[in-house]
Every structure is written in structure tokens, then in C-alpha cells.
């Protein structure tokens, strides 16, 4: 604790990354804390403070340990390696190169832990087996990569070869396996995440949260406590919020208080904010605060919320229904009446936690004496939403707010909503001091959004050839205590609920329902992964009923070019599901044969294979979601890309740069990039809905094209001219018309005056591009054009079930995804691997229970050992609307995985699982033909 009384500190000497080092530290403070807060070695990440995630892995005397579990005192006289060092015998350095080349770092927050665990391994074992690699890194969780590229990188580093991707020429970036542009800082441990930096004089903020799911409370006299507590600057209540004490992603649904005004609706809701020195806020316990709780009955499940007479969570939502959605076309009842087969099912999914390895963190700085402005730096997926929410809670104009996002250590939808931002802004505004906060893992899990649990009833009918004739779905989503993205789930599911199939008669109705749980919000797929479990199980039902192969029934119904979707949209191009299924066909046949052979003499360990198809609209549902990008050239030759799309690990910065480079005609390394600072970059929309490659990709394409057009016009050159940039000399080669533009001599652009402070930085040429996907509003029957493009895919899973214990192991997956165009195949593969990992978790192990699984040992996410082998087919059915034909893949990667796994379990055992996760005890009960016991 930096501001701890000096007498409590000890002086410790040790060898850190090869150098003798001395630190003053509290002896019981964790080594991770001392490294970060006292030695500035913030490459060592803190993900859980409980030894569950391994992000803080360092080497002590050659052994990997969690630095969050080691008293600093025990560092004395030891030899310590962290990610900042090159490692014993340079092993960490070698691994860094391999990680970069393989795309083994996505968000980068687990990367330091992975690198150190791998360093430990390679120091012991020069040529490890893949199993030894898995054993060595099993203690480090990764939520982005699915571990596959990490294992490959470590094996590659052990082999001593690690090919860095070769630099690509101008106009050859698109389609190249470029190393991510922010990759080196991630593998070097130098990336700055939310918890990694704050002004030295920042106060600390600790949030006091409700231990109750529903309660009223009163707060007694705080002034006395503040006065009696040295180092405590303020205890903020809802009365201290200068503007509106509410936030939420939709302008009309800002229902979540920054600090609860006397009533809490979920366990973990923010009640008070303690602001002061770190020592002060960490010494004051909640039980010392004058809060009097009056617990209320809590509604935790959908059924209870809908029951007649149920108490209302919000006066504005009669019968606790936040939002509804629907799609209706044709006459399902009439179609069912003449169908050859009709099947139905009821499905249930759990709360799922994003479990990004970076808990929410950041800081806010008041600017000027007023304060005049506020700057908020935090981990986020949506800087401009943060800007609006911050301005609103402070009651100031948006021009007085600046959002400077830090690197984002994983998001998956969970960092679309604000979390720390309003709290920081209010605290900094009120105290007129910089304020920082770092959520603990438990706090992050208890208080931030989740995937909606779904209760789905669905029914499908088909003709004798297996052609779908009717599909009906009633889907209720547990949306928790506040609106968040509940309406989006309610509106997105009706479009996708029947699956990627031609079906003329459809009725889908959805509801998002308030309960006393953490808000359910955005999570990779916005309800579509839950719906996919229903529609794909019904497809298997129909196949079984009609005696049709499961691959064949999907192929027969697959949406393709020229087809009309149930929302009435004609797909004119880039509907590559038929190709995806065709790609899988040989694997499907082989897997069926392999599994059959295996099962001949395997009564206990049964294998099965399953298949699932998916589709997913890129961008927001029938809502404007534009992106604006800007590329500038300055007098000194600086080529700057002002990119407002925050990269949450998926690689948008790299992909967008590849698009910019090839469109402009200059190599990627000619650019400098500014990512996501609301004073400098325009609104590129949120990093969500698989939209950045598609939507922002188009914006940057237009920006680069506009800049190129200006250059060509200035040079009087033709469209094929080749550009090269050397200092401030921009050479335009176009045969006899070739010439060099001297940037230093050009006048300022129309919009910008000459820069008086730094004349050489004066912008002389710029291109601005904006793009908004062409969609139309949906009518009351859900008819219209909700998305400009759809991602399609199909995955197969091969699973082995221990029929005695009910455990399931996904042995292999094959994934075929139509991505339009793979701008960067390595990054696309990384998305698919990571999506599959999260799909494995959704299917088999992940279940968030408030108060019970609020940490990463009780809440299970897949480890390296839970990943199947993955084979990928990238299908490039070019999207005419997309940049270079590309569309999104982030969410599509996840959607088909869980239903494919369920299909495989069913194939292996005959158990038609309808509740996820399929925990061993649930599958065991089903194998015995019983309703599941217990929870």
C-alpha cells in the first residue's frame, strides 16, 4: 500500500529480471501488488487474487508461482523473473516472438502469465510434448484464444523456430497473416490496461455493495466517520451524483443508479463509494458504516417474476417485462396441420459470466479548477457510450468529457455497459482529485452483466423431405435487475430464432424479464447462442423423426443466395452456409464412421458426433450504427489513422489498418494509429455485434479512398497510381505522370488551421469516411431488413462421454465459417478458437449463481485441457457491402458450438439434453432416465 505508514514497510532486496533490486514494501502485501504498485512492473497482471487465473504468474527461483499468493517478504534474496525480463537464457524473449507470430496474444491480459508459465516449462524441458505444454500452462486461464495458438507458439519456441510474418507490400496487406499491430506491447508486458497506470496523486475508490439481492436501506451520519478516519476524503452516496443518478445503454432505459438511492435490486449493487488514500479505503470495513438494511423478498427466476401479483422491480415495467420482440410470417398452425413431422422442445440456459481476465479498472482526472472537464480512462468496449453516460451523471455537456480508453483485457460484451466510469467521474468531480479504482474479481463477477438465462419453448415442422415448413418459439430471458442490453436480446432473437434456414411460416415471441439478479446484458451473440440450442436440437429431432441424416437436413434447408429470410429480407450474396456445410461434409462422413467403429467395443466411453449451423446479423438490429474514421497526412509526412474502434483483443486495430493500407496504397508500417480517444477520434460505434470489421472497415475504406482521391487529384494521377511515402515526400508513380508531392509545402486542410505550436504537424491532407449499414426498421411482425449482412457457419463436434460418471470431453471440432473475406486469417482463426472455447463452457460447465460462483474456482471456464482439436475452413463468400468483401466473425464463432456438442452427446448416449450446462450430474441423471436431482 503506497501510502501505508513507512514504519510498516520493510526493505527487500532481490534479483528482478537479472538486476539487483530493492523495494520498500509491506511484508504481507502480495508480491504481485509490490511489483505493480511499488516497482512499476505492471506487466504482471492481477486477475483474481486467489490463484485461480494465473495472470500474475512469475518465476521465483525458477519456479512458476502466482505472485498474488506470495508475501512480498518472501521475495527477499530470491531470483525473480517477470514478463518484463527476457527470462532465463532469453527464453521469455524467444517465446514473445513465437506468441506474436502465432497470434497467441489476443487481448493480452493473460499473455504475461502464459509467457512465464511457458518460460518455466522450457527452462526444464527443451522439447516438451503438447501434453507437457498443457500441464505447464494449465494454471493460466485465457478467455480469448481457446489456447490453441498459445500451445502452438510454445511448441514452436521450443523448436527454436518462430517465423515472424514477413512485412507485406502496399496493396498486399488484406488477406495477409499480419502480426497484430498492438502485439509487441502485449507480449512484452508493456500494454497499459485499466489497472496499470493512474496519476500518482490519485485517490482510491472502493465501492460498498449490497450483500442482499433485494433490500431497502438507510444511511446514518457519514460526516462523523469521515472526520474520524484519517486519509478518507469522502463517502459518496446517491445524493452526491451531480447529474442524473442513472445509466443504461438505451436513451429511454437509463434505470441503473450509480449509487443506489435506498433500494437495491441485486447482490453486488453499488451503495456507497469510499474515496481516499488506498490505506484508508482498504482499512474501513463495511460493518463500520452506518447502513441499516431491511432485506426484501427476492425474485430470482423468470417464473416468479411473471407470477400474478409478483412484486414489481420497476414501476415502469408492468408484470416485470422489460421488453418484447416478435417475428410473424405465414401461418405456422396451418403448416403444422399438413406437416409430415412435428417436433417440440423446452430448453433452459444459465447465467454465464464473461470472465474476461481483466477486472474493470481505470481512473478519472478532473481538468481545470471548476472542474472544467473530466477525463476518464478505463477498460471499455464503447468510448462514446462512456462519454454520454459520464456527461449525464455529472450533468455536463458531452464536450466537457474526454474518454481515453485503456487497453481492454477482454470484453465479450461485458464492457459495453459502463461500470467504473460513472463512479470514477462522480468521485473525481466531487473531490476535485484524480481517482482510481480496480475491481476485485469477485466484485466484477457480482456486479457486472451476464449472459441472459433463457427459458425457451420451440416447435418445428417439416415435410417428408425434411424441408422446414413451420417454426414457433417462445423465449423468455432473465434480464436481471436493470435494462442493460435486455431489449437487444429481445429484438435480435426473433430474427435468428429459427436458425439459418428457409422457412415460410414462423412465429417467434420473446420477452426480457426483470429479476433480482445482476443485470443480464450483452454477451457474444445477444441471446442467439441460447436460441441456437433450441433450433438445432429441433433440427436433430426432425432428422431423427424423418430418418434423414443430420447434415443433410441442414443442407437441405440452408439459407443461400437468393433466399428470403423469415424477416422478409432477400439474401442477394454472401450467404455461404451451403459452402460451409459442403466443406464439412467429408469430415462429417469420416467422423460418423470413426465414432461407430469406436463404439463397437466401448460400452462406457461412448463417442458421438454432432453438427450445428448458425447465422448472425452483423451490426445493430435495424438501428443506425455508423462509424466514422479519419486518416491524415501532415506537413512532416506523418500519416495518422484516427481510429475510434477500440480493440478488445479481437484485432480490429490490425484489420482496420490492413484495410486502410491497401485502400490508400501505402504499407501498414507507414501509419501511426490513435485508437479511441474521444477528443481525437470520431465515433466508430461500439465494439460489439461483430460490426467493427464490417462497419468500421467500410468507414476506414472510405476514409482511405477519400485521402487517396485527394492525393491523386493533387498529383493529377490516374487511379492505378502507386504511392510511396518517404519523410515528407509523397511519391505518386503513374508512368509519365509521376510526381512527388512535397507535403511540407501544402496548405492546411480546409477544416484545420496551421498548427501554431508545431507547424510541421499541420494537417495538409485528410480523408474522412463514414458508413452506416443499410437496414430498415422492422414492422410489428418483425418484417424488414434488420441487418446489411449476415455471418454464416457450421460446426461439428466429436464428444466422448463417460456414461458411468456423466462426464463429457469434446475431442474434436471442425468449424466452417463464411467470413466474406478473411482480412487477416490468423485473427479470424483466433476468433473461431476463442468462440469454440466459450461454446464448450456454455455447453458443459459455466453457470453463474449469485453468491455461490462469484470467483474463478467455483465458476468454471474451460482450461487448456478442455479444448478439442480444432480444424477450420474459412469460406469467403464475398460480401458486396463489406470492405474487401469482409463481414464479422466475433460472435458467429461461438453460436454453433454448444448445439453441436449437445448433438454429439445425444449421438453418443441417446440423451437429448435440454438444459445447459450439461454438468456431469445432470447428464448422469438423464442417462438413468431420471429428472435431474438437485440443482
Amino acid at each position: 500500500m503506497p501510502d501505508q505508514a513507512a514504519s510498516d514497510l520493510v526493505t527487500l532486496s532481490f534479483t528482478l529480471n537479472g538486476r539487483p533490486t530493492t523495494a520498500r514494501a509491506a511484508p504481507f502485501a502480495s508480491l504481485a501488488d509490490t511489483l505493480r504498485e511499488r516497482l512499476g512492473c505492471t506487466g504482471t497482471k492481477i486477475g483474481c487474487e486467489a490463484g485461480d487465473c494465473g495472470a500474475c504468474t512469475v518465476l521465483i527461483d525458477g519456479e512458476q508461482v502466482c505472485a498474488c499468493l506470495v508475501p512480498s517478504q518472501r521475495a527477499a534474496e530470491r531470483v525473480i523473473w517477470t514478463v518484463e525480463g527476457d527470462g532465463p537464457a532469453g527464453l521469455t524473449l524467444r517465446l514473445r516472438h513465437a506468441f506474436l507470430a502465432h497470434g497467441a496474444a489476443q487481448c493480452g491480459i493473460c499473455t504475461p502469465g502464459m509467457l512465464m508459465a511457458a518460460t518455466d516449462l522450457l527452462a526444464r524441458e527443451a522439447a516438451p510434448s503438447p501434453a507437457a505444454v498443457a500441464d505447464a500452462i494449465a494454471g493460466v486461464l485465457c478467455r480469448c484464444t481457446g489456447y490453441i495458438k498459445i500451445v502452438e507458439a510454445i511448441l514452436d519456441a521450443a523448436g527454436g523456430t518462430s517465423l515472424l510474418p514477413t512485412p507485406v507490400a502496399a496493396t498486399a496487406a488484406v488477406g495477409a497473416r499480419l502480426a497484430r499491430v498492438d502485439g509487441w506491447s502485449k507480449v512484452a508486458g508493456r500494454e497499459v490496461f485499466g489497472a496499470d497506470w493512474a496519476p500518482a496523486d490519485a485517490l482510491w475508490l472502493r465501492v460498498v455493495r449490497s450483500p442482499h439481492r433485494a433490500a431497502r436501506f438507510t444511511i446514518g451520519n457519514l460526516d462523523r466517520l469521515i472526520a474520524a478516519t484519517p486519509g478518507l476524503a469522502a463517502i459518496l452516496t446517491h445524493r452526491d451524483v451531480p447529474g442524473e443518478n442513472s445509466f443504461g445503454v438505451f436513451p429511454t432505459m437509463k434505470d441503473q443508479p450509480v449509487l443506489a438511492p435506498g433500494l437495491v435490486r441485486f447482490r453486488g449493487e453499488a451503495v456507497l463509494a469510499l474515496v481516499g488514500s488506498r490505506a484508508a479505503v482498504e482499512a474501513l470495513s463495511d460493518h463500520e458504516l452506518p447502513i441499516v438494511w431491511q432485506p426484501l423478498p427476492a425474485i430470482t427466476a423468470i417464473e416468479a417474476a411473471l407470477a400474478p401479483g409478483a412484486p414489481l422491480l420497476h414501476a415502469t415495467a408492468a408484470d416485470n417485462v422489460l421488453a418484447r420482440g416478435q417475428l410473424a410470417t405465414g401461418d405456422p398452425a396451418a403448416a403444422r396441420a399438413v406437416a409430415a413431422a412435428e417436433v417440440e422442445g423446452e430448453f433452459e440456459t444459465a447465467f454465464v459470466e464473461h470472465a474476461y481476465l481483466e477486472p474493470e479498472a481505470g481512473f478519472a482526472v478532473p481538468v481545470g479548477p471548476g472542474p472544467d472537464r473530466i477525463e476518464v480512462s478505463a477498460t471499455t468496449q464503447a468510448p462514446y457510450l462512456d462519454l454520454e453516460e459520464t456527461a449525464r451523471v455529472l450533468g455536463i455537456e458531452t464536450t466537457r468529457v474526454r474518454i481515453r480508453p485503456t487497453a481492454c483485457g477482454g470484453g465479450f460484451g461485458g464492457k459495453l455497459d459502463v461500470s467504473v466510469q460513472p463512479l470514477l467521474a462522480v468521485a473525481a468531480w466531487v473531490t476535485k482529485r484524480p481517482v482510481r479504482i480496480i475491481y476485485s474479481r469477485i466484485e466484477s463477477m457480482a456486479s457486472t452483466t451476464k449472459r441472459h438465462p433463457a427459458h425457451i419453448r420451440a416447435r418445428a415442422a417439416a415435410d417428408a423431405d425434411g424441408r422446414l415448413t413451420a417454426f414457433e418459439m417462445r423465449a423468455d430471458f432473465n434480464t436481471g435487475a436493470y435494462a442493460s442490453w435486455g431489449p437487444t436480446v429481445a429484438s435480435r432473437v426473433p430474427v435468428h430464432g429459427m436458425g439459418p434456414y428457409r422457412v415460410a411460416n414462423v412465429s417467434i415471441k420473446t420477452r426480457a424479464i426483470f429479476t433480482h439478479n445482476a443485470p443480464a446484458g450483452a454477451f457474444r451473440g445477444f441471446g442467439v447462442p441460447q436460441a441456437a440450442i433450441a433450433h438445432e436440437t429441433l433440427m436433430d429431432d426432425l432428422a431423427e423423426r424423418l430418418g434423414i441424416d443430420r447434415w443433410a437436413i441442414r443442407y437441405r434447408n440452408a439459407l443461400g443466395p437468393g433466399d428470403r429470410t423469415p424477416s422478409g429480407q432477400r439474401l442477394t450474396a454472401s450467404a455461404g452456409l451451403p459452402q460451409c456445410l459442403e466443406a464439412l461434409r467429408p469430415d462429417w462422413a469420416a467422423a460418423l464412421a470413426r465414432v461407430a467403429a469406436h463404439n463397437v467395443d466401448a460400452p462406457r466411453y461412448r463417442r458421438g458426433v454432432g453438427i450445428a449451423a448458425m447465422w448472425y446479423g452483423c451490426g445493430n438490429t435495424s438501428l443506425s450504427n455508423p462509424s466514422t474514421m479519419r486518416i491524415t497526412l501532415a506537413r512532416d509526412g506523418a500519416l495518422r489513422f484516427f481510429n475510434g474502434a477500440v480493440d478488445i483483443g479481437q484485432g480490429s486495430s490490425t484489420v482496420l489498418l490492413q484495410i486502410a493500407a491497401d485502400t490508400l496504397g501505402l504499407p501498414v508500417d507507414a501509419f501511426q494509429m490513435q485508437v479511441g480517444d474521444t477528443d481525437l477520434t470520431a465515433d466508430a460505434g461500439k465494439t460489439s455485434a461483430s460490426r467493427q470489421t464490417f462497419v468500421s472497415g467500410n468507414a476506414v475504406r472510405l476514409a482511405a479512398a477519400a485521402l487517396r482521391a485527394k492525393i491523386l487529384a493533387l498529383a493529377n494521377a490516374g487511379p492505378e497510381a502507386r504511392l510511396s511515402l518517404s519523410g515528407a515526400h509523397l511519391h505518386v508513380a503513374d508512368g509519365e505522370a509521376s510526381r512527388t508531392l512535397e507535403l511540407a509545402t501544402l496548405p492546411p486542410t480546409g477544416v484545420g488551421e496551421a498548427d501554431a505550436v508545431a507547424p510541421q504537424a499541420t494537417i495538409v491532407l485528410e480523408g474522412i469516411g463514414s458508413w452506416d449499414p443499410p437496414t430498415t426498421a422492422l414492422d410489428e411482425n418483425g418484417q424488414g431488413t434488420p441487418y446489411a449482412s449476415y455471418g454464416f457457419g457450421a460446426q461439428m463436434a466429436e464428444v466422448e462421454v463417460d456414461t458411468v460418471l456423466g462426464t463429457s470431453k469434446v475431442v474434436a471440432m471442425v468449424a466452417a465459417h463464411d467470413v466474406g473475406r478473411a482480412i487477416n486469417p490468423t485473427l479470424v482463426e483466433g476468433q473461431i478458437h476463442g468462440g469454440i472455447a466459450q461454446g464448450v463452457g456454455l455447453a458443459l460447465m459455466e453457470e453463474f449463481v449469485p453468491g455461490r460462483t462469484e470467483n474463478l474456482h467455483d465458476y468454471l471456464v474451460p482450461t487448456v485441457g478442455d479444448m478439442p482439436a480444432v480444424k477450420i475452413y474459412l469460406i469467403e463468400a464475398g460480401e458486396p457491402e463489406g470492405p474487401f468483401g469482409a463481414k464479422g466473425v466475433g460472435e458467429p464463432a461461438l453460436i454453433a458450438t454448444a448445439p453441436a456438442i449437445l448433438g454429439a452427446i445425444r449421438h453418443a448416449t441417446g440423451v437429448r439434453a435440454t438444459r445447459v450446462p450439461v454438468l456431469p450430474h445432470r447428464l448422469w441423471a438423464a442417462l438413468k432416465g431420471e429428472a435431474p436431482h438437485g440443482r
Binding site: G51, Q64, R74, S285, G806, W924
Partner: protein, 288 residues
């Protein structure tokens, strides 16, 4: 302000321990997570800490005349690396499956039994080994049977003035041991059910000594005495087939998020059968 003590001698450690309420810190793999759990919900109080790391005598695995002595600072990794007889194979299997390498490198066997979690992987193995626990206080040393050491849910007989100094494992040449645990993922598993066993057979393959334990199915690990009695003197081959539901009747598993009670009971039977099969000499193994 937090008191943190790092005694240099056992005497100093025992004096400190007797002087007030303080928690013993060995590997730190339970102390820090407990702190994280408390502070996340606003309980910022930290009991005084007695860090015994400097008592380096406790860090050894020592072979004595009739037993092995595992000091209180012996980590799971120390055990895995140790040159010890097959008697320790079960404990080693547990060691390899406790958390990741980071945890195995710091977590101690003694810490595991002192935390006394029902899901602690050490205790069933140690009870199966007829291990004893050595405790020290200013009043002297005492030794208690491992089977009696954990006397309730997350509770042991270790008094607030005592420090556990070692685990003593009696030698049993010719005995084999194994351990199986069950969970919903491949690594970092908190056991839903676990079983540990030690067996000795005579030249004819008949059981001359057997211990079978089930963990995670009761507040404390349960020894399957009736089954042990049924198998004593019987051939180990085919022993798995003799295991029935009645042998796990004494278990008191709970319904929770990790598994239902009936499932745990059934899985305990299945795992005991698997364990007995694994304990057969030189049989190809399959991981459960």
C-alpha cells in the same frame, strides 16, 4: 495495522502462536484467497499472520526407520519430485491435479489438511495411508491420527496455540496407492467426488491390507470400513465387482452447484470400482 510475523525458530513461532490469535501462513494458497473473499464483501479485517517460511527444517521429506516424515513446508511439487515408494502414488496423483503448477509449487500438504475443506485432496489420501499428524506447542509435541485430525466441516483438532509441524506416513513396503478425482473440467478441478485407496496383496493376489476413502461427499473424508472388511482376504481381481451402493451408505453428500447428492453417491461407487481396477498390478490405465 496488520501484524506479520516471520519467526526464525520453532520456539519463537510457538511463542508467537500462543500469544494471540493468528493464522499460520505456509504456501499462501488458502490465506490469500480467503482475504480476497473477505475484502470483496467489505470485511477488511486481516488476522495477524504467522509466516513459517523461515523454519526451513519443515521443508523436507525425510525417511525415518519406520515412517516418512513430510514437513509442514513440503509442497505438492516437492512431493511429486521426491523419490518415494509406490505407497505415495495416490498422494502424488493428487499433487499433480491440485490447481495449476503455480499452486502445486507453493501449496503445502499440511496447509491442505489444516484448511480442512471437504474438497481438500490431501486428507483422503493421508487417511488411507494411516498417516499421523504431528503438532507442536509450547506445551510439547503430540501426534494424532490423520483420521481424527479433521473433526468437522473446515475444522481440525489443531489448537490455536499449536502449529502442525509434519505429517508422518508409516512405511508399508509392497503397498500400492491410487487416487481419482472427478470434476467438470480437465484442470483446476475442485473435486465433486474423490477416492483414495491403499492396498497390499499377498503372493496369491489376495488383499492383506486395504484402505478406501471417499472425499467431497461428507464434511470430512469417509472411510469405507464395511467394504474394506468385505475385501480383506479376497482376491483383488474382481474386487471392483463387489462394490455396491450399500458400501457408501455412510456418506452424507450435499446437493450443490457441482453435483447432486445422489450423483455423488453413485459416482463414489463408480470411482471406487475404477480405483480398485487401477490398483491391480500392471494394468493399462484409463483416466476417469
Amino acid at each position: 495495522m496488520l501484524a506479520y510475523h516471520r519467526p526464525r525458530s520453532m520456539l519463537e513461532a510457538l511463542q508467537l502462536r500462543a500469544s494471540g490469535d493468528m493464522i499460520v501462513l505456509a504456501g499462501g494458497t488458502d490465506v490469500y484467497p480467503a482475504k480476497a473473499q473477505r475484502t470483496a464483501w467489505g470485511d477488511m479485517r486481516q488476522p495477524a499472520v504467522l509466516d513459517i517460511a523461515a523454519l526451513s527444517d519443515l521443508g523436507h521429506i525425510v525417511e525415518a526407520h519406520d515412517h516418512w516424515r513430510l514437513g509442514a513446508l513440503v509442497t505438492w511439487s516437492d512431493l511429486v519430485r521426491a523419490d518415494v515408494p509406490p505407497l505415495f502414488d495416490g498422494l502424488k496423483a493428487a499433487a499433480r491435479a491440485i490447481g495449476g503448477r503455480q499452486i502445486q509449487n507453493r501449496g503445502t500438504l499440511v496447509g491442505n489438511i489444516c484448511t480442512a475443506s471437504p474438497a481438500g485432496d490431501g486428507a483422503p489420501n493421508l487417511i488411507a495411508l494411516d498417516a499421523r499428524v504431528e503438532l507442536a506447542s509450547l506445551a510439547g509435541r503430540r501426534v494424532v491420527d490423520m483420521a481424527a485430525f479433521i473433526d468437522g466441516y473446515r475444522h481440525t483438532v489443531c489448537r490455536s496455540d499449536e502449529i502442525v509441524t509434519a505429517i508422518l506416513v508409516p512405511k508399508r513396503p509392497g503397498a500400492r496407492a491410487h487416487f481419482l478425482k472427478l470434476g467438470a473440467r480437465a484442470y483446476l478441478v475442485i473435486s465433486v467426488v474423490m477416492v483414495a485407496g491403499v492396498v497390499e496383496t499377498d503372493a496369491a493376489g489376495k488383499v492383506t491390507h486395504i484402505r478406501l476413502l471417499v472425499g467431497s461427499c461428507s464434511a470430512v473424508p469417509q472411510r469405507l470400513s464395511a467394504l474394506e472388511a468385505a475385501l480383506a482376504g479376497a482376491p483383488l481381481v474382481g474386487a471392483a465387482d463387489r462394490v455396491g451402493e450399500e458400501h457408501v451408505a455412510a456418506l452424507a453428500p450435499i446437493d450443490d452447484i457441482r453435483g447432486s447428492a445422489v450423483y455423488r453417491r453413485s459416482a463414489a461407487v463408480a470411482l471406487i470400482r475404477d480405483l480398485l481396477a487401477e490398483l491391480l498390478p500392471a494394468r493399462p490405465r484409463r483416466v476417469a
